[in-house]
Each structure stands twice: as C-alpha cells, then as structure tokens.
C-alpha cells in the first residue's frame, strides 16, 4: 500500500502519577489524527489515562554500532546502583 502519512510514536500513561511509556507507533496525517488513532489502537482495553504522540522523525536514537562503547562500561559498576538503602514499604514505584 502506498502510505503517505508519516509515522508517529505513541506514549501512554497508564495511571495518574506514573510516567508515559512508549506503547508503539502508527501512521496518521497529523497530530490530531495520531491522537485519535492512538486512542483507538492502544487504549481500547483501558490501558491509559493520557496520550502523547510525537512524529517519529523527531526522535534521535543511538547508533547500534556504538552500543559497546556506550553501554558496556556500565556493566561492572555495581556501586552506582542505590541498592544499599532500605526503602520504606510505603514508597512505591522506585
């Protein structure tokens, strides 16, 4: 099929207080249609309370070829994790 509509990335907030998470992508002619499409495609089973859309071309991504240099060095630096604190039970989503 000849598709002329641009691609959009969809971010859904599943619950008040939580962050928006990437849900997927879809085609739409403009932002308004993208939001409606996102509503119909990604929230029909009560997955969301808020939607963000952004045209995919505005996303900049890391180059997979550079993965080693970007991410591997973090592998053996366990001391960077704040895992040595005791968190109270009331604190959720940490």
């Amino acid at each position: 099929m000849n598709r002329t509509e641009p691609l959009w990335e969809v971010f859904i907030r599943s619950k008040q207080g939580l962050e928006h998470k990437h849900a997927g992508s879809l085609h739409a002619a403009d932002a308004e249609m993208a939001i409606e499409n996102a509503r119909d495609v990604y929230t029909r089973r009560m997955e969301g309370v808020s939607i963000w859309v952004v045209e995919s071309k505005y996303l900049h991504a890391t180059n997979p070829d550079e993965s080693e240099s970007l991410f591997d060095p973090a592998n053996d630096k366990i001391y960077r994790h704040p895992t040595f604190y005791d968190l109270p039970d009331e604190l959720k989503y940490m």
Partner: protein, 263 residues
Amino acid sequence: MNSKTTNNTKNDLVDYTLHLADSSLIMGHRLSEWTGHGPMLEQDIAISNIALDLIGQARNFYQYAAEIINSNEEEKNVTEDDLAYLRDAGEFKNLLMTELPNGDWAKTIGKIFFFSTWQFYFYQKLIYSAERQLAAIAEKSLKEVTYHVRWSSDWVIRLGDGTEESKKRMKKAISELWPYTGEMVVPASFESNLENRVCIDVSSIKDDWFKKIKAILEEATIDFPDEKIWMQSGGKNGIHTEHLGFILAEMQFMQRAYPGLEW
C-alpha cells in the same frame, strides 16, 4: 389508569426502546462490515470500535425491552437475542439512515457524522427520562457517542477541506444522506403517545443538531443542504428501504438456520 391504557403505554415504551435498539444495532452491524476492509489499519480499528460501542448500546436497549415485555405475565420469556435475531424487517424500527449501504469512505463517514451528532443531542435529553433504565443507558452511551462525534467530524472536515477528489466525495455523501435526516426529528406515533418526561420530543433537538452540522460543514467548506427538500421516512414504523432485508438475512442467518445456537 385502566389496564388498557397501561398496556398501550407499555407497548409504546417497548416500541420506543426497540426503535433505539434497532437503530444502534443496524448502524453497528453496517459499520462492522468495514472490519478487515478499512482504508488503513488504524481506521479499521477505529471504525470497528465504533461498531462495537453501538452494538453494546443495542444490547442494553434490547435487554430493557425484553424486561418490559416479560413483565407482562401472558408473554413468554423473551430475550435480547430473540428481539435482535428473530424479528423480521417489518418489525424493525431503526432509522433509515442506519441501514443504507456503507458506500465509499466518505459515505460511511457521512453516516456516522449524521447519526452520532443526532445521538449526541438525543442522549443529552434522554438522560433526564423518568424511565431510569433509559436514562442510565443514555448516560453510559453519551460518553461513547461524544467520541464518535469528534472522530467523524474530524473526518468530514478532513475530506471536505482536503483534495479535490475527497471534497467531491464528501459533498456527494452529504447530499445523498440528507433526505434521510428528516425522520430523525419527526416523532413516530409511539413517541407522541408517550409522556414527554419519559420519551424526548425529537423535534426539540433539531435546532441544536442542525447548528452542529452547519458548523462542521462550514469548516469542511461544504454547503449546508437545502432544508426544504422532500424527506424520506418510514423507518420507525417498519417501512424500510430494500437494504434492510439483506442485512437481516446475513445477520440473522445463524439463529434462523440453527435456532438457539450458542457459541
């Protein structure tokens, strides 16, 4: 009130409820024909969602109609399925608009636009009905319909104010559908018979409804149709276009061929 009046009122209330159920069911069934055939995946899902909303509304109305029918001791145990699948075209009271073929995308959009905007103003009043069940269904449905209005209005504007081809098609759809708007604001006898606090006076939503249509068409750069042309009517009284029979033949086939079949 003697028992004859009570029975008449009951029949009118059943007819009224069936009219609302039938319109939603037939509209929903028509839209479901798009499932798997939408112009693009996202719109395929959108229109199937709308179809499901409408069939859900129809179920609520059918269940209520069955409840009223069954409250009469002499009646058998009628179910929502009997009402949807075992009545013939002459007994269906849906608006003619809903049974018209989908046509192209613009025609389908035009149908949803006219129907959902009508439903929007209709339900806005029905939520005040003295029949609590009707009011509750209206309130639940209104949220769905508000989205159908938004979605279809956007498309009318998009197509009308789009390319030369899309404008031509949207204009054609509006003018072909227009003659079917007449009966939507003229009360049928069961509506006139019922008390005003139970059933809403459809002629009273006409101004708001037309104002909304006018505003959207203006944004879509499409002329508002001539209000004075001859209008189709009959749907609410069981007088239908040739299309309804074909819809029922397909929709009711299973229950007719295998009575009581469940899945």
